[in-house]
Symmetry: C2
Subunit: 226 residues, 2 copies
């Protein structure tokens, strides 16, 4: 099953394109926390009307990337150590749990999918495009968890991840973090391949916890420094 869930000829809607555009700006740091997003400005920038912009902003609000206040527009949500803790703690609960459920149900095809995702991530490190790396990193996590057949939990994680991504992009030494992540991914996959649920869950938890630790401590240094 699920060889490639993405339709090849996607009938893309303007709203979806706008949402992707703004999300990329936020995640990439072009729109920092606190930045006011003006509907008219985005609309003009992309040559569309304000309607799809508003609908895109509603979706981004649900993802936690912006905060919308009535008659006052959308503002990019702030990053903070507290928020990162909130976010990563939720991931730390969900991901290790889901990977156990996934292993209990997964087919050999699912294992092959995860392996492929691992290889894609590895191959991308050399190229070093942060957006691409982020996508493939998340693709690996998704591949591990997808066989759990928990669409609702996966949707929650999807939204958590897009915010987590903002923090990952702030890292001072991305290459170092990526290399560390790659090795951890390899270890996780090895346990996964052997269907060792307990070990996979443990390694995945540590993987996420280490990344969280790194990010939170960096943020706290930044907040202390002002």
């Amino acid at each position: 099953m699920s060889t490639s869930p993405k339709p090849l000829l996607q009938r893309q809607t303007v709203t979806a394109m706008v949402a992707e555009y703004i999300a990329a700006k936020i995640i990439g740091g072009d729109y920092p926390g606190g930045h006011q997003i003006r509907q008219e400005a985005i609309a003009a920038e992309l040559g569309v009307s304000r309607i799809p912009v508003r609908e895109a902003l509603l979706q981004l609000e649900a993802e936690g990337l912006v905060v919308i206040r009535t008659h006052r527009g959308a503002v990019v949500s702030d990053l903070s150590a507290d928020d990162a803790i909130d976010l990563f703690d939720a991931r730390l609960l969900l991901e290790p749990f889901l990977v156990k459920k996934a292993i209990a149900r997964m087919s050999n095809q699912d294992i092959a999918n995860a392996e492929r995702a691992l290889q894609d991530y590895e191959a991308a490190i050399a190229r070093g495009d942060p957006k691409e790396l982020s996508r493939l990193n998340w693709a690996f996590h998704t591949a591990l968890l997808e066989p759990s057949m928990r669409p609702r939990s996966m949707a929650v994680l999807q939204t958590l991840y897009s915010s987590a991504d903002r923090y990952l992009r702030l890292q001072i030494e991305p290459l170092k973090a990526q290399t560390k992540a790659l090795q951890e991914h390899r270890d996780i996959f090895e346990a996964y391949r052997l269907r060792d649920a307990v070990e996979t869950s443990r390694l995945l938890k540590k993987h996420v916890a280490d990344a969280a630790e790194e990010i939170v401590s960096q943020l706290k240094r930044g907040e202390a420094a002002g």
Copy 2:
């Protein structure tokens, strides 16, 4: 703080009203799973244009109450035993965790708030209005968890809960479930008041697990029967 979180002079937006209206229909079971929601029909029903209806539907999609497909409109999401398991497992991870964090930070005022929520729920059982009971049940859970200061996790739970509510409304013997819940709420609050994080977490977990068990077994009976 927070005696009455609803602003007295509510500057309610049409979109919010429409979202509330449709959500109530779905949660109350008036719109069952699979029901097609026509933008024009809702708009005419409420005497508004399609714009706020569309925006409301986007919010409901983020809450998991409807599924929107491009050019094909919104459909009320289906209920199933698998979905209920997905949903309640996520709650089972998050709530016991958050209540521990809450106890570590809570003030006496927070305890008083929880006690008030408990009393409100108790008082409402006699009246038996399901919508009101559902609201107060959730208010109690929220009061317990709110001091954790985890807005992101709370937002996730909020969306999970609105779907969980659909299942709760299906229960065959609501009064029995509510009475059981009330006793459990009392026990949870007692441990909470004493700041016993481990015991509160344990009781809360069991409270949610029991409700989940009841709902899932009922659903499975229904699915088996066809």
